[in-house]
């Protein structure tokens, strides 16, 4: 468990965003330290995905500030986020269905030859390498990802986030479509990335996975932050209580 002193890797401060009058995220503050996994929890529609999209550049927050290594940054589009080494696995996976795994993995960051043409062969070779690590059973390299199973598609999305040496990784329900074996592999991967000092925001509904993988957990309800707890200090019952009742443990009901 890292000692959370010094400057956080990421700090989202008082982030708010509304869609047509509905406050999807309402003045939420969370932070993340290097080598730490912070779980984001909450019921469906609590605002978890919306919050992290303000960090990944998919949305622009209506109000609030983002700090990276203590410095205030403006993230106005996904390219800005990538420039800060923020990689995201979206809940929707965000894959171009008509392209193959390699084209998706390198989308927006294609490898090119000396003449400036896309180097499909090298990209496929790299994709084969990383998939061998993440999902050794994966063999469908030459078909559009629309022809892949949900879990295979998820593997591609994970590979894309991991390949580019992220310092900050956002995983929005990364194992939702995975089988038990593949889920375990993602858990191992998270442990490994943690050791490398990468900070991870993990959105996850499975409370046991949260207890296993996360150092801290931030719980949201109706767009607001219920609270953040050290996972080591609480039980899964406590966290479930926060999600359902919207109260921090110990607070009067």
């Amino acid at each position: 468990m890292p000692a959370n002193t010094g400057t956080p890797l990421v700090e989202l401060r008082d982030i708010s965003i509304a869609f047509g009058g509905i406050k999807a995220v309402d003045r939420v503050t969370v932070d993340l330290y290097p080598g730490e996994v912070v779980g984001l929890l909450g019921h469906n529609g609590a605002g978890k995905s919306t919050l992290i999209k303000c960090l990944s550049g998919a949305y622009r927050a209506d109000a609030g500030e983002v700090f990276i290594n203590g410095e205030k940054v403006e993230i106005t589009n996904p390219r800005d986020a990538r420039a800060h080494n923020i990689e995201t696995i979206y809940q929707t996976l965000a894959l171009a269905d008509n392209l193959d795994a390699a084209s998706n993995l390198f989308l927006g960051r294609e490898l090119v030859t000396a003449a400036g043409f896309v180097d499909d062969a090298r990209m496929e070779a790299e994709t084969r390498k990383i998939m061998a690590r993440l999902n050794p059973n994966f063999a469908k390299f030459n078909v559009p990802v629309s022809a892949l199973s949900g879990g295979q598609r998820q593997s591609v999305a994970i590979a894309r986030a991991v390949y580019f040496n992220a310092r900050i990784l956002i995983m929005d329900e990364p194992t939702a479509a995975l089988g038990p074996h593949e889920t375990q592999m993602v858990a191992d991967l998270i442990q490994e990335l943690k050791k490398q000092g990468i900070g991870i925001f993990l959105i996850e509904h499975d409370i046991h996975a949260v207890m296993d993988l996360c150092d801290r957990a931030s719980v949201m309800k109706n767009g607001q932050l219920v609270g953040t707890v050290n996972v080591a200090d609480v039980t899964d019952e406590d966290i479930l209580g926060m999600i359902i009742l919207g109260k921090k443990p110990g607070q009067a009901a």
Partner: protein, 439 residues
């Protein structure tokens, strides 16, 4: 790249001889279907003519050469339409933009520049083409900007454009026909002088054959370098032979169409050649507009399959949100796509007005239908994300074959329109069926 060719090629180990053959050569079944349809149209018109008039006029060097020239303008635009439709847009304005840019180029070379440089000055052609291409790209960019940055659907922007640019084409010269065009400019439209002749065609053919062999050898060495599965050697030889055979056959065909006697006499008189008895056999060979189409086809194929821009076009078509989240500047790419469409439309305008030796304000009317039909017949899906350049060019050839064939057997414009309209709807329906089946 992800192409259904590879998909069908690598799936399914067994099957009958035909499917094994297709798998080994990685030939797209859809391509086969298109070629089949084309042959059917050609043979159909030929035999219909034979029955009706006693001689089939379709499968002759003369008609096929003319067909190649007439296909050029639609084919050039169809290449651009692939990008537009792949990104889930549409461009209904190409026919009008063609008319407008042709009209401006007509004015530039006939009315304006001769006053500056004097008639026949070489700068006239250069400047005319430059003005036309830049203007076309700007019109397209304007469409793209309205669509991408102002959020107006492409359907509406270009439907408006259909009327606006046709109206502009009329206003430029108050509906007058501008002719004749500059004599050098006219070469770009084909004709005996606007063709490269027998030797030139053999040179073009040799370069194309070398290209085919290079692609096959290079593709194989790339696959070997990364240990990817290789095609069987016989399949490589077969593809090389097929490609080169088609090229040589085309050269022979076009070289077999001689200049008309009148032109030969004129040429002989101008060059002090005494005509031998029985006349001179001077081959047309490839017409310049056909070479332009080939060059556009090759460049656009490279653009679509080998560059980042092409990759982004497909990604936007497959999933615009994903493309955005991957950091692609979707709006800017959209502007570039429409600018490219406008550029190619202007290029088609050069070919069309040069061929006609004049610019009229009606030039290009209904071309949008032919161009869209060409792209769709060629396998570009209106659902987005899928399409090929070679398919669109083949589609243009199919559409032009229909049109030429109907003219040959004496169908009037009304029936031609009915057929083209019906074929467009049918092509989309067939595409939908095809995709359902291959899901």
């Amino acid at each position: 790249m992800t192409q259904s060719a590879q998909q069908t090629a690598r799936d399914g180990k067994d099957g009958n001889v035909l499917s094994r053959f297709l798998k080994a050569t990685e030939i797209d079944t859809r391509l086969l279907g298109m070629v089949g349809a084309l042959l059917l149209i050609w043979i159909g018109f030929h035999f219909y003519g034979m029955m009706k008039f006693g001689t089939g006029a379709f499968l002759t060097p003369r008609n096929l050469w003319n067909l190649s020239v007439q296909t050029a303008s639609i084919g050039i635009m169809a290449c651009g339409m692939v990008l537009v439709i792949v990104t889930r847009h549409i461009d209904l304005s190409v026919g009008s933009v063609l008319g407008f840019t042709a009209m401006i180029m007509g004015m530039v070379q006939v009315r304006w520049l001769p006053e500056v440089f004097g008639l026949g000055h070489p700068m006239i052609v250069v400047l005319t083409i430059l003005v036309g291409l830049v203007l076309g790209a700007m019109v397209g960019a304007l469409h793209g900007w309205l669509i991408a940055y102002r959020g107006i659907p492409a359907f509406i922007v270009t439907l408006g454009g259909l009327l606006v640019w046709r109206g502009m084409a009329f206003l430029v010269a108050r509906g007058e026909t501008i002719s004749p065009v500059d004599s050098t400019f006219a070469l770009l439209g084909g004709g005996p002088y606007g063709s490269v002749g027998a030797l030139g065609s053999w040179i073009v053919g040799a370069i194309c054959c070398a290209g085919v062999v290079f692609l096959i050898v290079n593709g194989r060495s790339q696959r070997r370098k990364f240990d990817f599965p290789l095609r069987p050697v016989w399949a490589e030889y077969f593809l090389a032979a097929l490609g080169c055979g088609l090229i040589v056959g085309t050269v022979l065909l076009f070289n077999n169409y001689p200049w008309p006697i009148g032109i030969v006499r004129q040429y002989a008189a101008a060059n002090d050649i005494t005509l031998p008895e029985g006349g001179l056999f001077i081959s047309h060979g490839f017409a310049i507009p056909v070479l332009i189409l080939i060059a556009v086809g090759i460049s656009m194929t490279i653009l679509m399959t080998r560059t980042r821009f092409g990759r982004y076009v497909f990604a936007i078509g497959g999933n615009p949100d994903a493309a955005l989240l991957a950091g692609i500047d979707v709006k800017w790419v959209t502007v570039k796509i429409f600018a490219l469409m406008g550029f190619l439309t202007a290029l088609a305008a050069i070919v069309a007005s040069a061929r006609l030796n004049s610019a009229t304000n009606a030039l290009g009317t209904l071309d949008e239908l032919y161009v869209i039909a060409a792209a769709v017949i060629g396998g570009t899906s209106l659902a987005g994300g899928v399409g090929t350049i070679y398919g669109a060019i083949l589609g243009a050839l199919v559409m032009q074959s229909l049109k030429t064939g109907m003219v040959l057997i004496g169908f009037d414009a009304a029936i031609q329109n009915i057929v083209v309209g019906a074929v467009l709807v049918l092509a989309v329906y067939v595409d939908i069926l095809y995709r359902k089946r291959s899901k």
